[in-house]
Amino acid sequence: MSRAKISVVPSATGAPACPSGELRAPIRPLDLDWVEAVRVNLSAVERRIDSLPGRRTVKKEWQAAWLLKAITLMDLTTLAGDDTDGRVERLCAKARNPVRRDLLAALGALDLPIRVGAVCVYHDFVAIAAQALAGTGIEIAAVSTGFPAGHAPMETKLREIAASVEAGATEIDIVISRKYVLTSQWRALYDEVKAYREACGPAHMKAILATGELGSIRKIGQASMVAMQAGADFIKTSTGMEPVNATLPVSLVMMRMIRDYHERTGTLIGFKPAGGITNAKTALGYLALVKEELGDEWLSPGLFRFGASRLLGDIERQLEHHVTGAYSAANRHPMA
């Protein structure tokens, strides 16, 4: 992971560097003026999103290279009630070798580090994932804090974070209490996220805003601004369990908050859209949006992730199409 710029404000927690030796997004004192200043016009956001696919597209080799990049930006995820150790081990194996070697060879990409960014699981499976991914450089992400609704005692939630970190999680995906956003209790939201961040210790924290449950586009921006000040390394759209999960308009708003926060503080915050990103074309749209709104610097696993369980399969098929010229089929690629 890389962070090109470091905030002048030191981390309030004095948290040590994360396992890969990088500096963290610091916790800052809450500045409510920044939250109050957020203005988002939904129609303007939608207009930008509607016109972008017509303005930016990648074809041929560029498309193949961008799809390979998308794989490295993926949190390969399983968050199902019927997950087992065996299921998670299979997912980890896929994470290490996401694309058939013959395809990589044909693409001239054998030397590229094509592996997913992280594997994302419930706490129960952190240890088995850590074991399966040891030495690969793939991060182990655990969803936490009473995921997905977050309605658990605070103490339980803090202990859940600590337990996952202890079990080997290098990234923690926390969920915020939506009630604080819906009732505009920004201080309470800040305190909550800050407490989670302090509990994360060395693990990077992704703050899930559950944007589908926040009620207005402006509040999504405001919640982003609070979460970043409270020390979130990433802000993330959704759990994947809300009625509406990641959308491009919501993502645009969160990216712009990240950009504003960077302009204000010099700190680079990561972004993770999650839920509902199932095909290669959608993924390319996200990458173009990141490139346009945040810049190339964000097209790296340290600052951008897709939370997805089904996306990889479609990307594999598109890559095979690029190599052979024939449309591919799912059964030709090893399942996760």
Binding site: V40, G54, E61, W62, K69, G108, E292, D296, L299
Partner: protein, 812 residues
């Protein structure tokens, strides 16, 4: 030109964009074989020039590639086209609306079926990105035909008492070639007119393809005729005596020439001209949204848009952040091959445009502006110009004043809403305006006070067939789209009478300007009776009776030549003072309709108190019998009631265009109206013109019947007793040919209603060209003022209003 394919590994590390070319071979095939080679589309045939006055070379401005040769139509060619249109008119206008609707529907469908072809052709011919032609030009053109297929169907019952005009001559610009064609042809033929259209010389190809579609749709020959050529050909169309209607979109300079050329001819005219539209960003705006709005405003179509938001007014508190965000955004711009699907900006339409934009930017910098362009790649060849930001641009800087018609934004700051409005309205133009604010109160207040025909709130350059488009001031007059656009292609049925018929009671002997009063004003003198008190009305200016500046009076004569009295002989300084008084009464336009209605009712009441006196005056002046004089007064009272009734009811509309918007079409006062009254019906015509004007919130400078002015001067006392604010109505008596000319030339006057002589009408239309006054003339004919259908009605209200369309997208 596509770079050589990069190895995937390298792209993986750089994450750049590659080429994304749109296929164009099939369009080039058409260029080789098109039936329009060397021909015009006249009477449904591809015909060779009869007296071509030159040739045009069509080239792709992005790479100078040759696209074809086009003949320029001469007088005989234009004449043939007009004749073909005239020949087709009776049958076409006689078709049931439903039949015309079927043809328009077919054209809409054909545009859709050929949409990609047209998108590519338009991009090649004009240099604009395929993204824009594909996503905007062509779909909007098709939408225009669908929309107007609907109008053709419902026209008869929606516009009773109206008829098609005849043959329309239409001259369109090069910035949206097919879309402007659609804006012109669709409403014209929907209403039953036939057209002769000339596309701009740089961009003829999509119009020629459209002619093929007319053929394919089975459109009767002669309904649509298309001739190519430059300005000379356009002039031949505009000046052709058998053209009934001229519609032009283009520069204000050419618009002025056309206004003068058509003056006094009776040709109906609509002009959609230049702009220097403000783009206001308040501190509470979504700044990122505003930045994208600016991209749509001034870098859309390389800035070659009449309604481009070319003047950025940023609230001082956020100007720095806004400029920074804008620069970041522009640093991501991609300028290049218009046929590349991932390009933001293509080429300017012609090398001439490139030179002009370059020169104006240099001049602006020389005048003190700071210029910034992003560090991005531009193609080495072709008419490419970088997106350009000028900051610190003073109001007098050329970039704030002149329409650049290129990708150049001129920015300055403001402190308050009032200052923003002052800067925004400090222009000769009034086409469009954009306002960004998340505060609906502030946004709507600003929109209401903006002098512009189209106002976009938190969006920009949004267009729809059902929303009228057109400007205030020197941006032209008339609207395109929706109900307002339809009326531009219709005429009132039998609205005018020959001058003699209606003016039967208005043929008094010409008043002399010297001599003594032998008769007594308004009375029949008898020897030995008590002498009447001398009454010499002055002018009525700013709510006061003012002596004429020249201290001269003129005689008013009765039909038998006896002298009825004297009135002030106004001069140009009286007109000047009257207009000043009208300017000062600006708040009248902001009064509620209810308040204006009360005053009009009160005027009627006060007139009724003096009904007998006015009837006597009319009899004395015109020789009318007492019944008809009394009838004239009673009708005038009724008319005041009529417009009092309308004052709070002539509402606009709320449109729902396909996007998630509500568009409020507001009927606003034109502003200051100059009115010249006809000779006939000295009280009734005066009231019939005055009342709708003030009911709609205009301020008026009115010149009463030159022959019979005394009813109007008697009316001072009605005005004075009716609580009418000073300056709303100003009355100057005198020679219409002289003071009417001063009024028509006055640059502060927004509209002119000329009900005087035909020569006067021509003069007024000539003079009005300078500041593009909206002129309504009788052309020396008269109107049946007593008739409820023609003496009052919506036509008067429509003429008294300017439609402003305010776009308001919503959602949260």
């Amino acid at each position: 030109m596509a770079p050589p394919p990069s190895p995937i590994a390298e792209i993986f590390s750089t994450m750049g964009y590659g080429p994304a070319p749109e296929q164009s071979d099939y369009v080039r095939d058409w260029l080789e074989t098109r039936p329009s080679r060397g021909r015009f589309f006249i009477g449904g045939q591809w015909v060779a020039p009869r007296d071509s006055i030159g040739a045009i070379e069509a080239r792709n401005p992005a790479n100078a590639a040759f696209l074809g040769n086009l003949p320029a139509a001469g007088a005989k060619d234009v004449d043939a086209a007009v004749k073909a249109a005239r020949a087709a008119f009776p049958a076409w206008s006689g078709l049931p609306g439903h039949y015309r609707a079927r043809f328009l529907y077919a054209l809409a469908r054909l545009l859709q079926k050929n949409s990609r072809f047209l998108a590519v052709l338009e991009s090649m011919d004009n240099g604009k990105p395929i993204r824009e032609t594909r996503d905007l030009d062509i779909p909007l053109a098709a939408r225009h035909f669908y929309h107007h297929a609907g109008w053709a169907q419902i026209l008869d019952r929606e516009f009773p008492d109206h008829a098609p005009i005849g043959v329309a001559g239409q001259v369109i610009p090069w910035n949206f070639p097919l879309l402007m064609l659609a804006w012109k042809i669709a409403p014209a033929i929907a209403c039953g007119n036939c057209v002769v259209l000339k596309p701009a010389e740089y961009t003829c190809l999509s119009a020629l393809f459209f002619a093929e579609l007319c053929d394919e749709a089975g459109l009767p020959p002669g309904v649509v005729n298309i001739v190519t050529g430059a300005g000379d050909t356009g002039a031949l169309i505009v000046n052709h005596p058998d053209i009934d209607k001229v519609a032009f979109t283009g520069s204000t300079e050419v618009g002025r020439i056309i206004r003068r050329a058509t003056a006094g001819t009776g040709k109906k005219l609509s002009l959609e001209l230049g702009g220097k539209s403000p783009f206001i960003v308040f501190e509470d705006a979504d700044l990122d949204g505003a930045v994208e709005g600016l991209v749509d405003a001034i870098w859309f179509n390389q800035g070659q848009v009449c309604c481009a938001g070319s003047r950025l007014l940023a609230e001082e508190s956020i100007a720095g952040r806004l400029y920074a965000k804008l620069k970041t955004r522009l640093s991501h711009f991609r300028v290049g091959d218009p046929l590349d699907k991932a390009v933001d900006m293509g080429a300017l339409a012609d090398p001439v445009q490139h030179q002009r934009v370059t020169r104006l930017v240099a001049q602006s910098v020389a005048e003190g502006a700071e210029v910034w362009t992003p560090d991005i790649a531009l193609p080495a060849q072709g008419c490419f110009f970088p997106p350009t930001l000028l900051t610190g641009v003073s109001q007098s800087n050329v970039a704030m004043q002149e329409e650049i018609f290129g990708p150049v934004l001129a920015a300055t700051t403001f402190r308050t809403l009032n200052e923003a409005l002052a800067l925004a309205n400090n222009t000769r133009y009034g086409l469009s305006a954009t306002i960004w604010s998340e505060n609906i109160n502030r946004a709507l207040e600003t929109a209401a006070r903006m002098k512009a025909g189209v106002v976009w709130i938190n969006t920009t350059n949004a267009l729809d067939a059902n929303v009228g488009f057109g400007g205030y001031r020197e941006s032209g007059f008339g609207r395109e789209g929706g109900r307002e656009g339809i009326i531009e292609y219709l005429t009132e049925k039998s609205a005018w009478l020959p001058a003699a018929a209606g003016a039967a009671t208005g043929t008094a002997p010409a008043a002399a300007s010297a001599g003594s009063v032998r008769g007594k004003p308004g009375a029949e003198p008898a020897i030995g009776s008590r002498p009447a008190i001398d009454q010499t009305p002055k002018n009525y200016i700013g709510g006061k009776q003012k002596r004429p500046d020249g201290a001269r009076t003129s005689l008013v004569l009765a039909p038998d030549g006896s002298q009825l009295g004297r009135v002030a002989l106004g001069n140009r300084k009286d007109i000047r003072d009257a207009v000043e008084a009208a300017v000062a009464a600006e708040s009248w336009g902001a009064q509620t309709g209810h308040a204006r209605a009360q005053i009009l009712f009160f005027m009627a009441e006060n007139l009724s108190h003096r009904a007998a006196e006015f009837a006597r005056r009319i009899r004395a002046m015109t020789g009318a019998d007492s019944a008809s004089a009394e009838e004239e007064v009673e009708t005038a009272i009724s008319r005041l009631f009529y417009y009092a009734g309308w004052a709070d009811k002539y509402d606009g509309a709320a449109h729902s265009p396909p996007q998630r918007n509500v568009v409020m079409a507001l009927n606003e006062p034109v502003g200051i109206l100059g009115i010249v009254c006809p000779p006939e019906k000295p009280l009734l015509a005066f009231v019939s013109l005055l009342a709708p004007a003030i009911a709609m919130g205009n301020r008026v400078v009115i010149i009463p019947s030159e022959a019979h002015p005394l009813a109007a001067t008697d009316f001072y006392q009605v005005l004075e007793t009716s609580d009418l604010p000073a300056g709303v109505v100003n009355i100057v008596t005198g020679k219409a040919g002289e003071i009417g000319k001063t009024l028509a030339e006055h640059l502060q006057v927004d509209g002119m209603w000329w009900f005087g002589t035909a020569e006067g009408a021509k003069m007024a239309e000539m003079a009005a060209a300078e500041n593009m006054k909206r002129v309504w003339t009788s052309l020396g004919k008269s109107r049946d003022w007593a008739s409820p259908r023609l003496g009052e009605g919506r036509e008067f209200l429509r003429r008294a209003c300017e439609v402003k369309n305010i776009w308001l997208p919503y959602g949260d």
